[in-house]
């Protein structure tokens, strides 16, 4: 890549820079017109120059040919103009001025927009190019590359370059032009003063860059330190649990502070230097005026210069400092940006980039593997550079099952792991060769190895996104129907190393169903379900689906089915052994298992103002309470609930386990309740003393009375049993409920979705939609029983796939951490299977699972046919965690004398089997989930 910033900008935007310059030059006359016209207006119509005679007229817009007198010896007038009197002239000139201002503004707008767009376009290409480099780095390099630092370079460090691009050429030319004109003018006025000025400016030109050298150095240091800072901050966030566990927060603080101080020191020195340079700069310019005045004055007084000349010189000089100062400032910005740019380029050096051809999108389908891997005299090193395998001869063909049994031996495990990474192209052999289908692995395109070979290890990282995104990501190799070969953009010659070809659109259809041998979207859904089944994830994802929400407009069929399931569940509760456990929502009955507010609303909120915690300040609802005489009663109930809570939990120590285990309030809340009750007993005006409780971030603090109401709304008699809710109040609440329903249904956009046995509620989870009621708190293991019954019902009604679909939309969170480690390892396994590769490499997979489930999963993966496809028999190379499984493989390799040698599968299995007994039971489980492993 071009290391010189100006050259780089020129190479990538020369035409646009020239156009920009043309536009700026073209706008100059207008600019001067805006300066010139006010003078004409004042001199002409206002002061009356040329209008001294009554009724005198002057031509307007008279256009004589410039230099006509010199060339033709007489004046040639192109346009005689309109003859106007004084007042008309004032308006005419005024309007012309207005037009010039508008046009000038338009030019400015255009130029600024153009500059901005130019800068941003170049910035996008630069960032894209840098990203392309990241994608083409060899994997080894990432061991030393901090993500946050790379992000900080790509995002922040190049940002100011965008602003600079538009000015890079136009500004210096523009200012330079002005400065040269000024100098020229000065020379015309007086040769010696011209020389003097040039001498001083020359001195400036010489001294300033020297002063700035250190400045640039400091700029670089600052950039490096800032980059380190983003790396450190990111690390701190990543290791937050470790920091707490080991009490190293103070050390971390100190570490950060040290770095921050270094940055401060650098910046401070930077400022000192910067302003010192500025000072010298200004001083020199002022020194020049000093010379002009003193020397010029001296010459005038001694009579060697007439006063008129001096005034003209000083007038000419007046226009000079502006452009020169501008140029010097420009130069400083340029230097800083150049340093910044070089630093950026240097940290994204070309060395060791994969050739672009390796990541080329092939036009045609990728062929299946025929011969598989072959290692010849391979010598492999681990990450520390120690040789772990020597003179290795090994081969694995598609369809062949090979295990590496390590027996838990460390050296063997490391050697096997390194071999796996070498086959997956994550490391390269020091010597010897590894070939795939007869070709050296390094020369093969990633489209072949990436699609026909799968690699799984114990890794558990997933980017944030839904399970579906993360699962199907590995299938997105190339947009469907992308027939022609597309090389990932390589910079053409002479572009300064920047990529200009845009990649295909992200939103295209990237999953090639035909390549997977699938007919349509439905077949693909079945494929996904089968893969998840195999990996032992279906049930867990279905559970997530139960907790997810569905929009009936997107999936009407599913929601209708759920409503059917709801009926079935309600009608047939006894059949599932859950009779009486769920108390259904019945419009005519008070639901004892739900809170008072829920009973009142009898639905779920669609807007924040109608959520349970916000009801106390909801004017519509409060009006309804008043109508039924409930508000005062609720206040009284709130008081009693608060007192009961204080009585129960008031004496407990702040660290009492009871707060964590049984209390539905925290120590702080009880303390607040105490304060509030004390205030209320004192009879102080509650409204002046907000309870300082914020029910939700952003909501305003509630007054004591509102807080009491809030407590009541959240109260459930069946759970807390304080005995504050009597039958009369219940029936009044039922009456109020009907009122709420009526009032709300008259509103334009209903803020509440009412419980309705025939409608699917889009604001509630799928499970709540099925139950349409509350699980009773007095049933033994009520929740578990209900969940099991729901799952059984769903399996029976064939809704599993729909539920799986909902579950796949579960957001996995930062790093995928909302799923457990076992789930994430299973998902990695599922990703290897979903693309139906010819060879799968299992590098000690599923280590987070318990032995029985892990073995059961491995047996499922090793069973044939896989995923119901008779033609697909992937080759498998597995580094075993359970040597008992060795018997299931065609060949087994063991580690000995620094290399891997063949051994007898059954013997290894028998040896390992002596110790373990989990096999037989695990086998029976089939595709059922290993839920207890979670």
């Amino acid at each position: 890549m071009e290391r010189n910033l100006l050259k780089f900008i020129w190479q990538n935007s020369r035409l646009k820079q020239v156009w920009l310059l043309i536009v700026i030059v073209a706008s100059m006359p207008l600019y001067f017109l805006t300066l010139e016209l006010p003078k004409q207006i004042v001199n002409g119509p206002i002061q009356g120059e040329g209008f001294s005679a009554a009724g005198a007229e002057q031509p307007f817009l008279r256009l004589p040919l410039p230099f006509a007198e010199q060339v033709f010896g007489r004046e040639i007038v192109l346009f005689e103009g309109f003859s106007l009197d004084r007042l008309a002239m004032l308006f005419a000139l005024g309007l012309l001025f207005l037009a010039a201002v508008v046009a000038n503004g338009a030019f400015k707008l255009y130029v600024n927009t153009y500059k901005g767009k130019l800068g941003e376009t170049l910035l996008r290409q630069l960032r894209y190019t840098l990203l392309d480099r990241v994608l083409r780095y060899r994997v080894v390099r990432f061991r030393n590359l901090k993500g946050a630092e790379a992000a900080s370079v790509i995002k922040d460090e190049v940002e100011p370059l965008g602003e600079f691009v538009g000015d890079a050429f136009s500004l210096p030319l523009f200012l330079g032009g002005q400065a040269i004109t000024g100098l020229l003018f000065l020379f015309l006025q007086n040769f010696y003063f011209g020389i003097l000025t040039i001498a001083i400016v020359g001195f400036q030109v010489w001294i300033i860059p020297r002063l700035r050298r250190k400045l640039i150095q400091l700029g670089r240091q600052r950039q490096l330190q800032a980059r380190r800072l983003s790396g450190q901050v990111a690390e701190t966030v990543e290791m937050a649990p470790d920091i707490h566990v080991n009490d190293i927060s103070n050390y971390t603080r100190a570490r950060h502070y040290g770095l921050l101080s270094t940055i401060l020191d650098i910046r401070f020195e930077l400022y000192q230097r910067k302003f010192a340079v500025k000072y010298i700069n200004n001083l020199l310019m002022q020194f020049l005026s000093f010379l002009f005045y003193v020397l010029g004055g001296y010459f005038v007084i001694t009579g060697r210069l007439d006063i008129g000349q001096l005034v003209a010189v000083i007038a000419a000089y007046k226009d000079l400092p502006g452009p020169i100062k501008g140029l010097i400032d420009y130069d400083q910005i340029r230097l800083i940006n150049e340093a910044r740019y070089e630093q950026t380029i240097d940290s994204f050096r070309d060395d060791g980039l994969l050739p672009a051809a390796i990541q080329q999108m092939p036009g045609e389908a990728v062929p299946r593997l025929r011969e598989g891997f072959r290692a010849e005299r391979a010598r492999l090193e681990d990450e520390t550079g120690r040789v772990v395998l020597e003179n290795l001869h090994a081969a694995i063909a598609p369809g062949e099952r090979v295990a590496i049994a390590t027996g838990g031996n460390d050296a063997a495990r490391i050697a096997a792991g390194v071999l796996c990474t070498a086959l997956a192209r994550l490391t390269t052999p020091v010597s010897g060769t590894i070939t795939l289908d007869g070709k050296p692995l390094d020369d093969l395109p990633e489209s072949l190895t990436g699609r026909r070979v799968a690699y799984v290890d114990a890794g558990t990282f997933f980017p944030a996104g839904t399970i579906r995104d993360n699962l199907t990501m590995v299938l997105k190799n190339q947009p469907v129907g992308f027939a022609e070969k597309t090389t990932p953009p390589t910079p053409p010659k002479g572009s300064g190393g920047l990529l200009h070809d845009a990649p295909p659109d992200e939103t295209l259809d990237w999953i090639d169903l035909a390549a997977l041998g699938l007919a349509d979207k439905r077949a693909f859904d079945r494929h996904v379900a089968a893969v998840l089944d195999l990996a032992g994830l279906s049930r867990q994802i279905q559970d997530l689906g139960l907790r997810g929400t569905v929009d009936p407009e997107h999936n009407p069929a599913f929601c209708d089915k759920i409503v059917e399931v709801r009926r079935e569940f309600r009608d047939n509760a006894a059949g599932f052994g859950v009779a009486g456990i769920v108390e259904p929502f019945d419009p005519k009955r008070y639901n004892a298992q739900a809170a008072i507010g829920e009973n009142l609303l009898f639905g779920t909120a669609r807007v924040p103002g109608w959520e349970l915690d916000a009801l106390a300040t909801n004017p519509v609802l409060l009006a309804i309470l008043d109508r039924h005489g409930l508000r005062e009663r609720f206040l009284e109930m709130g008081r009693r609930i608060a007192e009961a809570r204080i009585e129960l939990f008031g004496d407990l120590a702040p660290d009492s386990k009871i707060f964590e285990t049984v209390a539905d309030v925290s120590y702080e809340e009880v303390a607040r309740l105490k304060e509030m009750m004390a205030r209320l007993r004192m009879g102080r005006q509650a409204k002046q003393q907000p309870a300082q409780r914020r029910p939700k971030a952003g909501a305003k603090a509630l007054s004591d009375r509102e807080e009491l109401l809030r407590i009541t709304f959240n109260y459930c008699e069946a759970r807390s049993r304080f005995g504050v809710l009597d039958a009369e109040t219940e029936s009044d609440i039922l009456a109020a409920r009907a009122d709420v329903r009526e009032t709300v249904s008259e509103m334009e956009a209903a803020p509440v979705f009412f419980h309705d046995p025939d409608l699917y509620n889009p604001t509630a989870t799928v499970l709540d939609n099925i139950l349409l009621g509350r699980v009773s708190s007095s049933a033994v293991d009520g929740r578990e029983k209900v969940l099991a019954a729901v799952q059984e019902l769903i399996a029976r009604t064939g809704l599993s796939d729909g539920l799986l679909d909902v579950g796949l939309d579960f957001e996995m969170g930062n790093g995928g951490r909302r799923l457990s480690e076992t789930q994430r390892q299973k998902l990695h396994l599922a990703r290897a299977l979903i693309k139906k590769p010819d060879i799968i490499i299992f590098n000690e997979v599923l280590g987070a699972l318990d032995v029985a489930s892990r073995q059961a999963t491995m047996r499922r993966v090793l069973a044939l046919p896989l995923l119901g496809d008779e033609d697909w028999k992937p080759g498998i190379l597995a580094v075993l965690l359970d040597d008992e499984l060795a018997g299931l493989f065609d060949r087994v390799l063991v580690y000995g004398n620094g290399t891997l040698v063949e051994d007898e599968p059954d013997e290894i299995a028998a040896r390992a089997g002596d110790g373990g007994d989990g096999e037989a039971t695990a086998d029976e489980k089939g595709a059922e989930d290993d839920a207890h492993a979670e």
């Binding site: 004892a592 009961a644 009585e647 129960l648 939990f649 004496d651 009492s656 386990k657 009871i658 964590e660 285990t661 049984v662 008699e717 069946a718 807390s720 049993r721 304080f722 005995g723 809710l725 708190s777 007095s778 049933a779 033994v780």
Partner: protein
């Protein structure tokens, strides 16, 4: 509907809690979930992971030992008995199935809270130890009796 105060009254009659002052008893009542079982319903099953202990409020519970499909009622517990505490103390699976014999009402106390209670009220711990010791004595006596029966 039963309120906390009603349950406190029930708890007061249970010897195990006799020494705990009424205000604290309310906390016990609050923490406990009241569960009602019909005849033949199961409180917990042998082999399940135990996360709570139960105090029988009224009714009779059969303690059933399951071995290879056969179910044998080994004991019966009635009012005010503590059951299921072994899993809570020892972190082992349920050693037997407990089934309602007729209508059974029990209080369910979560494991964490139960341990917390014992920590907070040493008298309670004492009573539980006593109860367990009695049971052990009875088991030992039963064992001795059955051994004698075998020898004869």
């Amino acid at each position: 509907m039963r309120t906390l105060n009603d349950e406190v009254e029930v708890l007061r009659r249970i010897p195990l809690f006799a020494s705990i002052e009424p205000s604290k008893l309310k906390l016990v009542a609050y923490a406990a979930d009241r569960v009602e079982l019909n005849d033949g319903e199961v409180l917990f099953r042998q082999g399940d992971a135990g996360d709570s202990a139960f105090i029988l409020v009224s009714g009779v519970a059969d303690i059933v030992s399951e071995t290879e499909g056969a179910q044998v009622v080994v004991a019966q517990l009635r009012d005010h008995a503590l059951v299921g505490e072994m899993s809570v103390f020892c972190d082992v699976p349920r050693s037997a199935t407990v089934r309602a014999n007729g209508k059974l009402i029990a209080l369910k106390i979560g494991k964490d809270y139960f341990l917390e209670l014992i920590k907070e009220f040493p008298e309670l711990a004492g009573r539980i130890i006593r109860e367990l010791a009695f049971r052990l004595a009875k088991t030992t006596a039963d064992l001795a009796a059955s051994e004698r029966a075998v020898r004869k």
